[in-house]
């Protein structure tokens, strides 16, 4: 008996839509003089992000890692003076599979020199409006969304209040270990579904979730990460930063990530010290954003599962 696993899971129409989408994206950036570049997919260094695992390969007998994003390569090119640039290609994340995830996926990442996160949010909105043909763009801060839906200030609420809110809203098999885990649970279970239709640009994340974004005070004097996310109909599509350019702070964050991973018994990968060197030599002030192209295609074509837009997802790859 055959179960036809040689066949693509995506329809031929979806594959043609994919080609058209990639062409649209390239045209969008060509018109704006943003340069397409290639950076290594296979690298001796890996992300230090506490919640992202890399896939390990062997290259010339030694471990190498499949890129979880093109970020480090692109930033080194920015520091080398290349100017506005983007990458459109594959990225890989270990352990991520489901209706919205495939371990191998297509990522668009671009950088704008001299811009901050607010200005780049505008361009993300323009690209999404163009590709998805929707005009409604709502911008709101992380705090505003929490206040609107849960009457809770995510920056000032006590850990006990956050835990109590989680306990009210979500049935868990475990006790949340810290504030950020509570915030992640509320975001994914309660707030994403409540975002409503159209494009939502969410900005000013908690400083503890800055990743590689600058931390600055907001209008109320609260330190916030100058990071934003784009959602369409509650589906997370893109994550952007006003980029950290301070090499000492960059090194501190790498080391803090390493300590976190070590303490939580997660694999500790070699971090990219060349990024710290690139920042030392001077990376221009810039904003950058990464966008999931498979999800964009899901939205553009009205598909409910990522398998419907990828020819051969991991079960068939």
């Amino acid at each position: 008996m055959t179960d036809n696993t040689w066949q693509p899971t995506a329809s031929l129409a979806a594959l043609r839509q994919r080609a058209a989408l990639l062409a649209d994206i390239r045209q969008f950036f060509a018109r704006r003089q943003v340069l397409e570049v290639e950076v290594p997919i296979l690298s001796r260094r890996a992300t230090s992000d506490p919640h992202i695992d890399s896939i390990t390969a062997l290259c010339n007998g030694d471990p190498a890692y499949l890129a979880t994003s093109p970020e480090f390569g692109l930033k080194r090119l920015l520091a080398a003076g290349l100017g506005d640039c983007y990458y459109l290609g594959k990225a890989f994340r270990e352990g991520e599979a489901g209706g919205r995830h495939n371990p191998e996926f297509t990522m668009l990442e671009w950088y704008r020199c001299g811009w901050d996160d607010r200005k780049l949010m505008g361009e993300v909105g323009e690209l999404l409006s163009l590709v998805l043909d929707i005009q409604v763009v709502q911008s709101l801060s992380y705090r505003e969304l929490f206040l609107r839906e849960l009457q809770l200030d995510p920056h000032t609420a006590s850990e006990a209040d956050l835990c109590a809110c989680v306990a009210r809203e979500i049935e868990l098999s475990f006790a949340p270990s810290d504030r950020d885990e509570c915030l992640d649970l509320l975001m994914s279970h309660r707030l994403e579904p409540a975002m409503g239709g159209g494009i939502t640009l969410l900005y000013d994340f908690p400083a503890s979730q800055a990743a590689l974004a600058k931390v600055a005070e907001d209008a109320t004097g609260t330190p916030v990460a100058r990071r934003f996310e784009a959602y369409v109909n509650g589906l997370e599509l893109a994550n952007g930063y006003w980029e950290l350019t301070d090499p000492a702070e960059q090194l501190r964050r790498f080391q803090a990530d390493h300590r976190y991973r070590g303490a939580h018994k997660l694999h500790v990968y070699p971090f990219e010290e060349r990024l710290v060197e690139a920042l030392q030599s001077g990376m221009p002030e810039c904003a950058g954003v990464a966008l999931g192209v498979d999800r964009l295609l899901m939205l553009a074509g009205g598909y409910s599962s990522i398998d419907q837009v990828i020819a051969f997802p991991i079960e068939r790859a």
Binding site: G95, L183, M187, S188, E236, A290
Partner: protein, 190 residues
């Protein structure tokens, strides 16, 4: 007993949760781009039939439940227990009223049902999707009224009550869908 990690959870997998055997219905991987990964899981408690929603940290695991589905022939009810037999081994099992639950109203002797065994004992009974049963009580038939499409309640030999077309009479054998309780048609006379 083996255990399963969240990335192995899939529909139909039987696991233990809060001391009860459960069947996984759905498993959704949830991960913010820069946050922690969770699995939102829907499970049916096989003891109570209730559906639970539970969120796990990705990578957590649950113990497997010793649960298996067996095709068995329904033999008889002794007033307290329902008796079933495995057709190949002739091994007999007795199921409590609780285990049989709503399936009781569709059980006809010699029909083959799915009996869910938990640690070797019947936990639940699923009747065949379609059963043929005799009407034991209904209002008198109205011949010539077949085109009207009206219905009336009819009591079947097992005690179930279903809506049937007006022309059917006591003693008629009918086919019923046990999942919906709907009348499907008259059973053909052998």
């Amino acid at each position: 007993m083996a255990s399963y990690s969240t990335n192995e959870f899939k529909g139909g997998l039987k696991v233990m949760l809060d001391g009860d055997p459960c069947s996984i219905l759905e498993n959704e991987f949830v991960k913010p781009g820069k946050g922690q990964a969770f699995n939102r899981v829907k499970l049916r408690n096989l003891k109570t039939g209730r559906v639970w929603e539970r969120t796990f940290r990705s990578g957590e695991s649950l113990e497997a439940a010793d649960v298996m589905d067996r095709e068995m022939e329904y033999l008889y009810n002794d007033g307290e227990f329902y008796h079933f037999m495995e057709p190949d081994t002739f091994e007999q099992h007795q199921a409590s009223t609780d285990a049989v639950g709503d399936a009781a109203k569709w059980l006809k002797e010699q029909d083959v049902c799915t009996v869910t065994l938990y640690n070797g004992a019947p936990l639940a009974v699923t009747p065949p999707n379609h059963v043929v049963l005799e009407i034991t009580d209904t209002d008198p038939g109205l011949r010539g009224d077949t085109a009207q499409g009206g219905t009336k309640p009819a009591t079947l030999s097992t005690g179930a009550v279903v809506k049937v077309p007006l022309f059917l009479e006591i003693g008629d054998a009918i086919k019923v869908d046990t999942r919906t309780g709907e009348y499907l048609g008259r059973a053909k006379e052998d």
